[in-house]
Symmetry: C2
Subunit: 458 residues, 2 copies
């Protein structure tokens, strides 16, 4: 893969007439033959508009789950290499059928496995990382006038040439990686929602679709629980400056652009359309608001180590013990123990699914580290407010605390970054907390204006 800076890449592409579009369709968009035909129609429209089109596709509907069920029937703990071999059959089916549906509309299409498309990975079966993309066959297929259909979620290991899968969010990552390697003008991620919202619309019905968001903010949203895009996919897009357009496969509306650059000319909403013009006005309002949205996460648990000797190195011992289990820790808080002098309490959050493993490891290390006890709490929720330049506007934090206080929500832990504040609350108060924060920052769609901090904006 040729690595170039985003600026170079974009200016070079502007000189050429043809745009390269990478489109990714998830499992729900290709759940059955009818959906596949509808997707084929949509793809063909891009080809007719003169674009070169590369499509990344997931397995049909629930077929991956069905394959996992089948594996479980013969083996409670199937070997990871074989599980990856099995699961990659899912995209092989959807991509071939999609290519057939496109051919049936009179257009040339060729499907390619991850391996054929040059998606080279390491050999961590089930959660492989992409280490290179060599899309020579895809480039040739495009040169021959074909629409290229690529299996998402899968690759081939560099040395042993074994088939791998990329794990959660893998198909999105395949799409962004191919877009980067092909120097595509845009990577469209089609999904079953209209885009990225200022909060989960199931919790906050007045949440608004975000029209444009920067990579950093999107990364924080994804890391904080927004499920539309996976963090690794956004990281990849940021590293190679790939403009990502998250949108619905069930409508023609503009979705959410994830980019730090202007939206490419060819893909900007038409100015003539009244609907889009109205949307565009909302968009400019949104651009000035510094708060992107409110994310939430119910998937974490809190571990508290009580009575840790307050001497240097003890915290390191604790986190080394947890890290040895390959567990990612999120928020960390340390307080002087109120019960016993010379001792301290350390709390941290981690994915609930890793809870048992962490407790076991800590228990084994208890005497060596010398703490008193471990407490485990999986009834927590995390709320995160994400927005640019937050650290330099103290009012942002104050607004959050005031809103939560008014909503009778107690705060258990706090952590902040340049563009994010996260708080941990009781899980049964999380929805109230999200609604309160969303309203306090003026993000509700029935509010006239978003709250703007600092001197810029209007």
């Amino acid at each position: 893969m040729q690595l170039r800076s985003g600026t170079e890449r974009i200016s070079e592409r502007e000189e050429t007439a043809v745009s390269i579009v990478v489109q990714k369709f998830g499992g729900s968009s290709v759940a059955d033959a009818e959906s596949i035909k509808r997707v084929a129609q949509r793809i063909v429209e891009y080809r007719q508009a003169g674009h070169e089109v590369v499509v990344v596709v997931s397995a049909m509907g629930d077929s991956t789950d069905e394959l996992i069920d089948l594996a479980q029937q013969v083996s409670p703990l199937p070997p990871a290499r074989e599980l990856d071999m099995l699961l990659t059959a899912g995209e092989r089916i959807s991509m071939a059928v999609l290519a057939m549906a496109i051919a049936n509309l009179g257009f040339e299409a060729q499907s390619f496995t991850g391996s054929q498309a040059g998606v080279i990975t390491d050999e961590q079966f089930g959660k492989a990382r992409i280490i290179d993309v060599t899309p020579g066959r895809i480039r040739s297929a495009l040169d021959d006038g074909n629409i290229a259909i690529v299996a998402g979620f899968q690759g081939v290991s560099q040395t042993a040439k074994n088939i791998t899968t990329l794990g959660r969010g893998g198909s999105d990552t395949t799409a962004v990686a191919l877009a980067a390697a092909l120097e595509a003008d845009v990577c469209e991620i089609y999904t079953d929602v209209d885009g990225v919202f200022t909060a989960d619309p199931r919790i906050v019905p007045s949440a608004r679709k975000i029209d444009e968001i920067g990579y950093e903010e999107m990364m924080e949203m994804a890391a904080s629980g927004a499920k539309v895009l996976m963090l690794r996919c956004v990281e990849y897009a940021r590293r190679y400056n790939v403009p990502v357009h998250v949108r619905s496969s069930f409508s023609r509306k503009q979705g959410t652009w994830v980019t730090d650059s202007p939206i490419p000319e060819a893909f900007r909403p038409a100015q003539g359309s009244t609907a889009l013009a109205a949307e565009s006005e909302t968009e400019s309002t949104m651009e000035q608001a510094i708060i992107s949205g409110v994310a939430h996460d119910r998937s974490e648990a809190k571990v508290t180590i009580v009575g840790v000797p307050d001497v240097p190195g003890k915290a390191a011992e604790i986190f080394k013990t947890v890290a040895a289990q390959e567990i990612d820790i999120d928020m960390i808080v340390q307080n002087i123990s109120t019960r016993e002098p010379g001792k301290t309490d350390i709390s941290f959050t981690l994915p609930m699914t890793d809870g048992a493993k962490a407790l076991e490891a800590l228990d084994a290390a208890k005497d060596a580290i010398g703490f008193d006890q471990v407490r485990y709490d999986d009834q927590i929720g995390k709320l995160s407010v994400v927005g640019a330049g937050m650290r330099s506007h103290p009012g942002v934090t104050a607004t959050l605390f005031e809103a939560l206080s008014n909503a009778q929500v107690n705060i258990d832990m706090i952590s902040t970054s340049e563009i994010r504040i996260s708080v941990v609350t009781r899980v049964d108060l999380l929805d109230d907390a999200v609604r309160a924060a969303h309203a306090a920052y003026g993000l509700d769609s029935d509010q006239d204006e978003a709250v703007v901090y600092g001197g810029t904006g209007r």
Copy 2:
């Protein structure tokens, strides 16, 4: 693939202690998780006995048909490249699940696609021919102590590296081709019947299992409608002198050995077993009978071209017309026309599925060739008697004609080879004809002795 003569190959292998066994399991043997577990158990027993085991597996049960249905839902005529890509998902699933089932029994197993196993083909999608087998990864897997599971029916094209399927009987051919390339001691074809029979037991209940049969006879049986093994697989076995053992996946009984050489020592039926000793006696009786069996075929139709000008080159024009449609012609008969002097009638048989295509092509060429009309008859059946040295024993043909005459079966067409006589009859008389011929040659299991022609035998 290193080509060597059969003798060299066998003598070399006898010096080494380890035997290589290639086992092929068809779709009905791996129809569901339970069947797969049973097959895994059987495979593991061979590994435990010290053999190196390579398993070739078809898609589970009806899954290939289900994939074809899915394709039909999006396209009435799916592109051949994409159909092959789609269908190869079937074996990918079965082979990975089988590898998991073996791992669950505590043995190491790795699955390989056709491409990974080095099955190199031409690029006739849907009916690719194997042009080379480079089983380096399989050999390495065996060296590492693994059981290797290989997807049957599929390969990769030599130049363009596209995924291909081998068409009907493809998995058997994969197994024999791998056995040849790996210089295996035996290629076991597991199926849902006990072996090759002297006739179809559904028609002739007294048909006997053939214990041993030569390649030539088996080729004639396969070409004449015996469905247990496909012709191309037997041709391949003969060319590379691969001993093939066709047997049931539902019993432990010896099946039918297809080979021109003695059965390899390690795989001969144990002499201690009474059941096998009894079987073995039947076997030696069978070896002396020159008639291997009676095959039948209901899949052909007869085309008669009426009133062909009796001048040189006309027959060639007709068969060139048909051949241009890539249709394989089987039997051909030419008679002087009884109606018109200077004209002749030409009849031939062809696969019923190619009937419409042939008629269309002939119709288009009617004026150019100058015949009167084409008749089409799909109510025919073909009966073939196969046995070694038949041509030099005129009594064989006489026995057939007498038996059919006694059974009131009229003969429509006749063709013969060194080791086969085939006749075409009305399809509704075919079963009677098969039973009559089977009895006439003394093949019924309740008959004391098979009829032996010529001076050898008893």
